[in-house]
Symmetry: D3
Subunit: 153 residues, 6 copies
Amino acid sequence: MKKIALFPGSFDPFTKGHQDIVLRGSQIFDEIVIGIGKNSQKARFFSLETMIDLIKDSFQDHANVQVQAFSGLTATFAKEIGAKYLLRGLRNTTDFEYENTIAQVNRNINNLETVLLITTPELAYISSTIIRDIYRYGENVDKYLPYKLPEIK
Amino acid sequence: MKKIALFPGSFDPFTKGHQDIVLRGSQIFDEIVIGIGKNSQKARFFSLETMIDLIKDSFQDHANVQVQAFSGLTATFAKEIGAKYLLRGLRNTTDFEYENTIAQVNRNINNLETVLLITTPELAYISSTIIRDIYRYGENVDKYLPYKLPEIK
Amino acid sequence: MKKIALFPGSFDPFTKGHQDIVLRGSQIFDEIVIGIGKNSQKARFFSLETMIDLIKDSFQDHANVQVQAFSGLTATFAKEIGAKYLLRGLRNTTDFEYENTIAQVNRNINNLETVLLITTPELAYISSTIIRDIYRYGENVDKYLPYKLPEIK
Amino acid sequence: MKKIALFPGSFDPFTKGHQDIVLRGSQIFDEIVIGIGKNSQKARFFSLETMIDLIKDSFQDHANVQVQAFSGLTATFAKEIGAKYLLRGLRNTTDFEYENTIAQVNRNINNLETVLLITTPELAYISSTIIRDIYRYGENVDKYLPYKLPEIK
Amino acid sequence: MKKIALFPGSFDPFTKGHQDIVLRGSQIFDEIVIGIGKNSQKARFFSLETMIDLIKDSFQDHANVQVQAFSGLTATFAKEIGAKYLLRGLRNTTDFEYENTIAQVNRNINNLETVLLITTPELAYISSTIIRDIYRYGENVDKYLPYKLPEIK
Amino acid sequence: MKKIALFPGSFDPFTKGHQDIVLRGSQIFDEIVIGIGKNSQKARFFSLETMIDLIKDSFQDHANVQVQAFSGLTATFAKEIGAKYLLRGLRNTTDFEYENTIAQVNRNINNLETVLLITTPELAYISSTIIRDIYRYGENVDKYLPYKLPEIK
């Protein structure tokens, strides 16, 4: 049976840190599904459609990496796509405490196994929140991203 | 003199993790007052009245546990009810750093002593935030709560 | 060449904890610029003008400490004023994980060096967030501040 | 029934940080037993007998504080003296992770409840290890201790 | 190609916490090798031979779990047995900071990928060190171990 | 007056991580003294004389960096050489909690100011302990060091 892992997140935007985890995860699992969670309560900065396209382009040479949007609980979506594993990156202890909590919840709901990889040190400071801040002020953010963002007009 | 401890929180909702701390605290202190803080700046998900009733029901067999709502500072309310102790649960290091700060403030304002218990490991992943997320998507959350929530109509 | 360090923050309000870091930093660097970041996305509790005046008054006897407001990225402002160093205080591990991330970003953007001092223990519990909460409920907050706040009318 | 709490440690030496926790704990419990664990595998720096005497002197005005040496497991000794509670101080997250582990073990062995107090910030840096280092080099350590150490001859 | 993960440790003794990680890891990888590191600088409490036998017995129904002793660097042994992955459990932030460091070293030496699973909460307090302490004082430790220890004569 | 900072440690061995902190510190202070603490209670792996020579060679182009061995307390040595600042690197939260404690002690003893820099992420996993382990097993450790170690004969 194929081992499928879900890599969930809001990816607003998807960064080189995320790419690092997906590429390494794709050496562990047969298939990785990058799942972009739609959260009706929080407006996105980068549109969902744009982001899906940009991520798909980034992984066009990786046949075992897919991209999908989902709404609802992560654990529910994982079950729907046949993923028994969640893939997550750890940058620091703050991440760890958060993932620790979430991992137990997801195990509890649909018996999902959370597999953690430590982010490559050079990329550990890259967060979507910080990239949005930099981008908002008109600075170039290309070096943090595995693709080129469309111009701000 | 009776030793009264205030167990403050927003309890939106009150969880089995909270219940665990209250029950264990009630073996240390003569009386525990569960204080639900009313925060005019943050809308509740579960109504205050409903939550007070549900908590009261949960502790109906524990004569030394009471439930009250309060507005204003925790330290002020503690003094009003004659509580010299604050009771708090610790789930992880993130909680610790937060409680460390708050404990000094409360000691500083009204000379309150904060008493910490470590949450039972099996319950440490339960947080009100996560329960609201699960509930919002229509999943059953009964196993995280010491009472049965009214149906969503 | 003069060694200038920027001490950036929202300072809403500026506390004795901030003052502690600035005074100690002013023994390390030739000049400290306290930079109040204007964030168009977050309303201030204490007005920018009032806060600038209060901070200026607090440091009137320290010729090498200046106060300025800025908008945009911290790294950009640092470069504008010729600051090669960022000065920051650390209260606990939560602060550390945050500063760790931000420090790499600022190094990456404008090659800034972040210099960290550990907050004096007696002041480590003082946070602007907590002071706003206490103030909002009408409690006196003078002992947390290096100046006297104007009366609430 | 009297509520007895055991405050266990090697106390090599007993510091003002320890005293702080005992005094505050003595306001919560009816009786505090300071238990000095004898560890056959680790040689003491300050002799057990001297330390017991010095601690006893420090608490001579506190009728509800006692001092005893013990060997074997902390949980076993607690049961022997009728203590259902363990009292411990927390200085930082490193302490927290350690206490978290030990608390579960002691609960598991003899159903002991661990009650944690956060060390007063001004005393949080005081550790027995550091005091031994300072003392070894002939520096005065009186300000870290609630008693006066006998002279080194 | 078979995906082999090395689960290295001193396992003095191997606990239910270790077993938990191995069993879960065996659902991710094709083969798990439990590698007991021989450290000439640290005497073992439980003999290497006894421990190998006890662990082998525990996993006799798991064809894809093997047990081997090794000396030298973990990264070297991993390469020898064709393991491209290291499997490790995380109990808390102290573990995380340690694993973070070690993971980078092992990646650096032999390009090994470290895969982390969070220990099941109920087992997170179990450490080999604590078990040795309990055992040394003659208390029964069977409930912490996935096998029955031979009697102390 | 010249601003002198002491960078204390056992440096067994001195690593590229240490070098990183010294070089960056030498941009902040007028002079950096690398102080190798002689600890009579712990045998060195790399001899003190060898290490002093290797470090001196590494900084021969940096006139404001010196190397000295010292015994006794760090705070005492700092005073002797006229250093009012201690320079230290932070790799993670474990380091932070340790430095937090030590910084207060050194401030308390000789009013020293501890200045912290966050280690460059790519170097943060390098620790003297790990290098000794790798070296002991005959692996090459040159890439972790700012100098070439003499051959093991």
